[in-house]
């Protein structure tokens, strides 16, 4: 699809907005609908759209496969790591209240961190899956 000028220009404008919107969804999840999972999917959708229009190779230049794979793994580790941190600070597993002096703040930090973990993993996984499917296609064609 890389010969379609209108698509290319439109995508170039839209993709940054999609990525920005993903961040909004991520950090606004406390107040309205949204959160790590939706943000991760939207962020990945931005990259996937870019890949669909400009081709797999250029997408992988912007967002290399190893980064996606690293993200997929590190999000889970971050989430589980928050739990371990609360163990070390004397609470139960995933008890965020002990993460700060004030349980309220602790809950805030905890939720922020685990939502970040969810977003990182979901984003990494979706992009990884897309890359693997697309790469399979390139070999066939």
């Amino acid at each position: 699809m890389s010969d379609q000028v209108i698509l290319r220009v439109a995508v170039k404008i839209i993709v940054p907005m999609i990525l920005l919107y993903a961040l909004y969804v991520q950090f606004h999840g406390d107040f309205g609908p949204g959160g790590g999972f939706q943000a991760g999917v939207i962020f990945a959708a931005g990259i996937i759209l870019y890949g669909l229009v400009f081709g797999l190779r250029r997408a992988q230049k912007v967002f290399p496969t190893w980064v996606a794979r690293l993200m997929a793994a590190s999000g889970v580790l971050l989430y589980a790591g928050v739990g371990i941190a609360s163990l070390l600070l004397g609470g139960r597993y995933l008890d965020y209240s002990v993460l700060a002096h004030d349980p309220h703040h602790g809950q805030h930090y905890g939720i922020l961190l685990v939502e970040l973990g969810v977003m990182i993993t979901v984003c990494g996984v979706m992009i990884t899956i897309f890359y693997f499917f697309a790469a399979r296609g390139r070999e066939t064609l």
Partner: protein
């Protein structure tokens, strides 16, 4: 008004689902399934589940559809109509097959409907689900957690462990896809020509490899990626 939207959405959902059942072109079926997800996202909004609606729209209608289309690009989108194919292949016991699924489905649906008879009515505030556990989230999360979106509070804190499991499920999917799709493409080693009639020969090759090279695991490299080691 809400009732009207509800009915419209439900009718559209039913039509779309039947459409997926009926169309023979996979591309059309995938699109209809995407529409189904989108409509259900609408229904979720009507039923106050905005977070779920958001996710369903992004995942069901977005990511799932993209994956489906990516798959169709690889496997083609024509369904060879069942009736035609079945005769040409003549699978045993085919004649009774079409009846079995409908019996299973009617039976399952009947039991489910029977099970709803004692269920509390839709939208009734006296339902058990609104009396136990949930009120705690709605009344206490404000000062226990301190963020307005109760769904986020429950998701990330009260039931945060479930969400960790969910994140792990997503990661598992990535591991699964990587295991499956990072395999070398060796169609010839799997194709009919290798596995059809001369399959015994092929097995013997497997034997030979095993006998010849197996003693030293270090040698079990490139040669073994042939007929049986490559994983296709």
């Amino acid at each position: 008004m809400e009732l009207f939207i509800n009915f419209t959405l439900l009718a559209l959902l039913a039509v779309t689902a039947l459409g997926v059942l009926h169309v023979t072109n996979l591309f059309a079926a995938v699109m209809l399934a995407g529409i189904y997800s989108f409509l259900s996202a609408g229904l979720f909004t009507v039923m106050d589940a905005v977070d779920v609606a958001f996710t369903e729209a992004a995942v069901g209608a977005g990511i799932s559809t993209v994956l489906m289309l990516a798959t169709l690009a690889l496997v083609g989108s024509k369904v060879t109509t069942p009736e035609f194919r079945i005769e040409s292949i003549s699978v045993k016991g085919r004649s009774r097959r079409p009846l079995l699924p409908i019996v299973v489905v009617v039976f399952t649906g009947g039991i489910l409907a029977y099970g709803t008879l004692d269920m509390p009515g839709y939208g009734d505030p006296d339902n058990p689900v609104h009396q136990h556990v949930a009120p705690h989230y709605l009344e206490e999360s404000g000062h226990e957690i301190g963020i307005p979106n109760v769904v986020t509070s429950v998701l990330a804190s009260y039931r945060g462990y479930d969400t960790m499991g969910e994140t792990t499920v997503v990661f598992t999917a990535a591991v699964g896809v990587m295991i499956l799709l990072s395999a070398l493409r060796r169609r010839d080693s799997y194709g009919e020509e290798a596995w059809g009639d001369e399959v015994i020969d092929d097995m013997d090759v497997g034997f030979k490899d095993a006998f010849g090279e197996t003693m030293d695991p270090g040698l079990a490299g490139p040669e073994r990626e042939g007929p049986e080691g490559g994983g296709g």
